[in-house]
C-alpha cells in the first residue's frame, strides 16, 4: 500500500515545474512573439516597388517618420477619444449594475441575470452591429416608432454620428466590463460592509472607502478588457459611424490590404502598440498615485484616532 502511494508521488516530482505552462508559452511564442517580431522587422524595411509589399534590404527608420504624419495623428486622436469615452461610459454603466447584481440580487437569481448579460454574445458581433445600423437608419424601426408616437416629425438620423459610434461601442463592450466587476464585487465579504456600517460610516462612505478599493482589481481588469480591444476595433466605428467613425486601425488595415505597403503598415502597427501601452501605463500610474493619496490620508486619520483613544 505504502509503495503504491509513493509511486505516483515520485512520478509527480519528476515533472519539471514549468511543464504545465509549456502549451501556453509555446502558443504565445508562436502566435504572439513571432508575429509581433515579424511586424517589427518589416517596419524597418521599405516598399521597393509598385508590385512588391516589402523588402528589408535597406534598414531604415523612415517608415516611422511617415507613420507619425498628420494623417496618423488625426486618426489616432479620434480613436483615443472614442476609446476613452467608450471605456468611461462602460464603467459608469457597468459599475452600478455589477454592484446591484453582486449585492442586491438574490443569489439564486444571479445566474439568470448573468445569462441575460451574456445572451448577446451568442450572435456574431458584426451581425449585432449591423442590426443597430438597421435600427438607427432614417427608415428604420427607431425612427418610424418615434414618428408614429409623434415625438419627432421628420425621419431622424442618428446613424453615422459620433453618438451612434459610442452607442455601438458601449453595447458591444459592456459585458466585458460587467463580468470582471461582478466577480470582484461578489468576492467582497458582506460582513466588511456591515462592519463599516457598525463603525459609523454611512452608505456613500462605505461604498467609496470599503467597497470600491476592494473592487480595484476588477475595475482595472474591466478597464483593460474594454480599452485595449476598443482601440484596435474599427469595425463597430466604421459600421455605425461611417466617415465619423474613422479609427486608426482602419489606417493600418488599408496599408496592408489596399496600398500593399507592409513596411508602412507595420510601422503604424508598432507605433499603435507602443502608444496604447504608454496610455495604459500612464493610467495605471495615475491610479496608483490616487490610491496612495487616499490611503496616506486615511492612515493619518487612523493614527490620530489611535492617539486620541490612548490619551
Amino acid at each position: 500500500m505504502t509503495s503504491d502511494r509513493r509511486v505516483p508521488r515520485a512520478a509527480r516530482r519528476a515533472v519539471p515545474p514549468g511543464l504545465l505552462a509549456t502549451p501556453a508559452l509555446a502558443w504565445l511564442a508562436l502566435f504572439f512573439v513571432a508575429p509581433v517580431g515579424l511586424v517589427f522587422w518589416y517596419s524597418l524595411g521599405r516598399k521597393p516597388g509598385l508590385y512588391q509589399t516589402h523588402a528589408n534590404d535597406v534598414l531604415t527608420l523612415d517608415r516611422y517618420r511617415e507613420a507619425l504624419g498628420d494623417t496618423f495623428l488625426t486618426s489616432f486622436s479620434g480613436t483615443l477619444r472614442i476609446g476613452v469615452t467608450g471605456t468611461a461610459l462602460c464603467l459608469a454603466i457597468g459599475l452600478p449594475f455589477a454592484y446591484w447584481l453582486a449585492v442586491k440580487v438574490r443569489p439564486h437569481r444571479r445566474f439568470v441575470v448573468l445569462a441575460l448579460v451574456l445572451v448577446p454574445f451568442w450572435t456574431n458581433f458584426l451581425i449585432r452591429t449591423i442590426g443597430w445600423q438597421v435600427v438607427l437608419s432614417p427608415e428604420g424601426f427607431a425612427s418610424r416608432a418615434m414618428q408614429s408616437l409623434g415625438l419627432i416629425d421628420a425621419p431622424f438620423s442618428m446613424l453615422f454620428t459620433r453618438g451612434a459610434v459610442l452607442l455601438g461601442v458601449v453595447y458591444n463592450y459592456l459585458p466585458m466590463m460587467i463580468l470582471p466587476l461582478y466577480v470582484a464585487l461578489d468576492r467582497i465579504d458582506g460582513s466588511l460592509r456591515e462592519a463599516s456600517n457598525d463603525l459609523g460610516a454611512n452608505r456613500w462612505r462605505t461604498a467609496l472607502q470599503v467597497t470600491l478599493p476592494l473592487a480595484r482589481p476588477g475595475i482595472a481588469a474591466g478597464l483593460l478588457l474594454v480599452f485595449i480591444p476598443l482601440m484596435g476595433d474599427y469595425v463597430t466605428a466604421a459600421v455605425l459611424g461611417g466617415a465619423r467613425g474613422n479609427m486608426v486601425g482602419q489606417l493600418v488595415a488599408s496599408q496592408f490590404q489596399q496600398a500593399q505597403n507592409w513596411a508602412l503598415g507595420s510601422a503604424m502597427a508598432v507605433v499603435l502598440i507602443v502608444v496604447i501601452a504608454l496610455t495604459i501605463l500612464a493610467t495605471a500610474a495615475a491610479g496608483a498615485v490616487c490610491t496612495w493619496l487616499l490611503t496616506h490620508r486615511r492612515r493619518r486619520e487612523l493614527a490620530g484616532i489611535a492617539e486620541g483613544s490612548a490619551a
Binding site: L50, S137, A243, L251, A259
Partner: protein, 384 residues
Amino acid sequence: MNHHDHTPRLLAPAARVAGLPRRTFLAGLAAAAGAPLLAACGGSSGSGGSGAAAQLRAYSWSAYDDPKVLAEFTAKHGPKVIVDSYSSNEEMIAKLAAAKGTSGYDIVIPTGVFVPQMAANGLLQELDHGKLPNLANLDKAFQNQEWDEGNKYTVTKYWGTTGFVYDTGVVKRDLKTWDDFFDAAQKEASGKTSLVDDPGEICAMLCFARGWHQSTTDKAQLDQIETFLVDTLAPHIAAFDSSPGSSAIPQGTHVLMHCWNGDARRGILASSEQDRWKWVLPGPKTNLWMDNWAIVKGSANADAAHELINYVLDPAVAIKQVDFVGYGSGVTGSEEEARKLKLGLIDMIFPSAEQVATMYTGVINEGQERRMAIVNKMKAKAGA
C-alpha cells in the same frame, strides 16, 4: 511579387510539406501567421488537375453571381461552387501573392487593368481555349483587350461604370456633372453624402471634372486633388461605402451616393420608392471597367473552372447573371435579350452609345501610393 529573393524558408522543407494535404494545411496556417514566410514553401504546384472536382472555390466581388445560376451549374456539372468575397483588387492580389498557389482558390475575378501585373507575377494560369467552346459567344468588343491580348488569361465577365445616385426629395434640381455632384455634396447633401471606398475612384472624380487623366501621375494635379478632397469635400462626407445598393439606398441612409451602376440599380430596385432615386452618369467623363474570369495558378480544379466559365458564357445563363447583378456581360446579344425580357431599369445596365463614348479605363501606375495616402488623409479629416 518575387518573394523568393528575400524570404527565408521556415517551418519545413518543401519536400516534407508536400507530404501533407498542402492546400488546406498551408492555407490555414498562412491565414494565422506570417503568410509570406510560408509562401516560400509552396514551390510550383501542378496545374490541370482532376475533372471530378467536388467543389470549386471562387474568390470574387460580393454578390457577383446569381446563386440560382451557381446551383444550376452544380446540378448539371457536379462541382459545388463556394464563393468568398473581397472588396478591392489589391486585397485579392495581396492574398494570392502571399499564398503563391496555395490559396485554395480556383477562380478570381480581377479588373482588367490588374491582369498584366497578376500574370507577370505568376498568379494566373493560361486558359485552355479548347475547353471553352462558348468563347465564341463573347462579343468582339470584349475580346483582345490591351491588358490581355488574345484572352490568354481572362474572359470578360461584366463591364460597368461609375456615377452617382441622389434623393430627388432632398436635392430638387438636375445634377448632371461631377461638378454638380461636388456642389450638391457641399449644399443640400452635406453630411449625407457617401463615396465608394476605393482610392482610385475617389481621386478620379476631380480628374473627370477637370479633364485630367483619371490615373494622373502629375504632381501638381495630385496636389490639387489632395487639397480639394481633404479641405473642401471631406467635411461633407458621411461614409465611405462601396455598395450603397445593399442597404443605404433601400434604407434611405444618405442623400447623395457615389456608386457603380449595377450596385445603384440593385439598390433602387430594392427601394420601396423607386421614383425617389435618380441615377446619373456624370459628365464630362467617367470610368469604364471590365471584371474578368481568371483561373488561379496552382488550381487543382482547373477543368471544373473552365467548365464554369464556359457555362456562364451560354447566352441563356449570361442573361440571368446580368439581371441579378445589373452589369452588362460581354456575351453577344445580351443587351437585345435583356430588352426583349424587359429587365427592370435596363438603361442603368446598358448606357447609350453616346454615354459609353464618355467613358475610359484607368491604368495602374506609380500614382497609386499617393492616391492611397490622399484618401487616408481625407478619411482622417472626415472623422475629425
